[in-house]
């Protein structure tokens, strides 16, 4: 192509299939789909980065413990405190342990853990990979004959997928402990009686669906954070945007997944 025809081509207004924003949206959805497919193509093939998975799991799981401990305990106390007046109106405060246990195990623990991890870990992954991308550290890894997708992305996604369910179980325990503290302070219920009452109404399906939800939430947090970070452009401004979009997009997807999984779980309830 000669220079004149190239200049002519450059002057022509760009055409869009739908509109500029819709085209960008669908292109982004497509490339996110490709990113997920690439993860599944890579994850089962050796070499496996066990050392890095353990390192990331420590960073994601252990370092989130203080925050999860605090929010779990407070969630238990607050939820119990807020539920008591409604139940006492009907003289049904004895139902408090089972109500609180159902709420915590079925909904609160997975959702709150997912949202907290999205905020803390998702933003961290987005910012870290984004900063590595704009400072060419990802390219440097690639030219050192290390597959950066396997080393940085696959390990982080696996770590969030493994650690969020564990954090959820830990949060559920802490929230139940918080609930017990409140119930014990008001009704002098013993711990054994609280646990017996609470778990009377909890089924295997409740626990299984919560763990399943947390696995999905963990995967979402990992894949969204990595996608945003790995595709960062436009320097430091892009890094900030990647961290922000990681949180917003993860939280949005977590709510959507919550609705879908609750719906599916209800089909299996007797």
């Amino acid at each position: 192509m000669d220079d004149a025809s190239m200049k002519l081509k450059q002057r022509q207004p760009r055409r869009y299939v739908l509109t500029k924003k819709l085209d960008a949206f669908f292109t982004d959805v497509y490339s996110f789909g490709q990113f997920i497919a690439r993860f599944f193509r890579t994850v089962f093939l050796p070499p496996y980065e066990f050392k890095e998975i353990i390192k990331q799991s420590y960073a994601i799981g252990v370092k989130s413990l203080p925050l999860i401990t605090l929010t779990g305990f407070i969630t238990g106390i607050v939820f119990t405190k807020q539920s008591r007046p409604s139940l006492s109106e009907f003289g049904a405060t004895s139902w408090l342990p089972s109500l609180v246990a159902i709420a915590i195990i079925r909904a609160l623990a997975p959702l709150v853990t997912g949202l907290i991890t999205a905020g803390k870990v998702g933003s961290n992954i987005g910012a870290e990979l984004g900063s590595m991308k704009v400072t060419e550290q990802i390219d440097a890894m690639e030219v050192s004959a290390t597959n950066p997708f396997r080393f940085l992305v696959v390990t982080r996604i696996l770590s969030t997928t493994f650690m969020v369910p564990l954090l959820m179980l830990y949060m559920a325990l802490l929230a139940l402990l918080g609930a017990f503290v409140n119930v014990h302070a008001n009704e002098q219920t013993s711990f054994v009686s609280f646990i017996e009452n609470g778990f009377q109404t909890i089924s295997f399906l409740d626990i299984f669906s919560s763990i399943f939800k947390s696995v999905i939430f963990g995967f979402t947090i990992g894949i969204v954070g990595c996608y945003q970070g790995y595709n960062t452009t436009q320097g430091t401004q892009g890094v900030g945007r990647a961290a922000n979009s990681s949180v917003v997009m993860s939280m949005f997807l977590i709510f959507i997944e919550e609705i879908i999984i609750v719906q599916i779980t209800n089909w299996f309830r007797p």
Binding site: T135, E136, Q137, D139, A140, M141, V143, S144, T146, N147
Partner: protein, 257 residues
């Protein structure tokens, strides 16, 4: 440091580029590049910012795919290699990035160990330590072994970046703006280091720069990139004696202003 006499093996081409084209959307960055680099030769690619100099070496390292044309590195056509074969080839190419690209979350020692531990798993701890020490010694920064990248100056980061590539004993070195953002004295030290690396490890190099002092100090051959094509090629003296008006302002800016 003055350039020493060196032996360039004109019978052995390490990089051969033919009719290379690369575009980003409507922006045609490279429009038909031809280049030969021989064993032991330092080639400087000179050009203004945004002329596609870095794109050229990223294509050589397989980080970008060309739209058209061939790039042969050490006898392999880079664009047609499988990922595994490309990884093997990359072990023989050292890439020094413009901003050094040191891993922020690792110390200097870990930065240097990283490519070695991942690609030479049979090495003992003593061998790894010795390789790290040798690479740091080659760039004169043995004392920085336990420091973090954030604690280093710009010049030191460049040196560590070069040491990280040297640890794999590459046959080819690619330097992306090695003196950008450095003061004249540190720039001179980096130029000396580039020559030293070439002589000590008998590498062939491509040095991307817009710094004429660096070009003169390190290049055996200069290739001037303008509007996606090489407009001049030869020794520093030949290129700037050509009387090409397009190069005059470049020369004046570097040496007069």
């Amino acid at each position: 440091m003055e350039k020493k006499e060196k032996h360039i093996d004109r019978t052995k081409q390490v990089i051969t580029i033919r009719d290379l084209h690369k575009s980003f959307g409507t922006n045609h960055v490279l429009r038909g590049i031809d280049l030969d680099i021989f064993q032991g030769e330092n080639v400087v690619v000179l050009g203004r910012s945004g002329t596609g100099k870095s794109v050229l070496i990223k294509i050589i390292a397989g980080l970008l795919k060309p739209d058209k044309g061939t790039v042969n590195v050490l006898g392999e056509n880079v664009a047609s290699l499988s990922y595994r074969k490309l990884e093997e080839l990359r072990l023989r190419i050292g890439f020094s990035f413009q901003n050094s690209a040191l891993y922020d979350s690792m110390t200097v020692r870990e930065n240097l160990e990283f490519p070695l531990l991942r690609n030479s798993k049979h090495l003992t701890t003593a061998q790894v330590n010795s390789a790290v020490e040798k690479a740091l010694e080659a760039v004169g920064l043995s004392h920085a072994i336990n420091q973090w990248p954030a604690e280093l100056s710009g010049g030191q980061r460049k040196r560590i970046g070069i040491a990280r590539t040297l640890i794999m004993q590459p046959a080819i070195m690619l330097y992306d703006e090695p003196t950008a953002g450095l003061d004249p004295i540190t720039s001179m030290e980096i130029n000396d280091l580039i020559n030293e690396v070439q002589q000590r490890f008998n590498t062939s190099s491509i040095i991307i720069t817009h710094d004429l002092t660096c070009a003169r100090a390190t290049g055996d051959k200069l290739a001037v990139l303008l509007d996606g094509r090489f407009v001049q090629m030869g020794s520093f003296e030949e290129v700037f004696a050509s009387g090409d008006e397009r190069l005059k302002s470049f020369y004046d800016y570097n040496f007069i202003t």
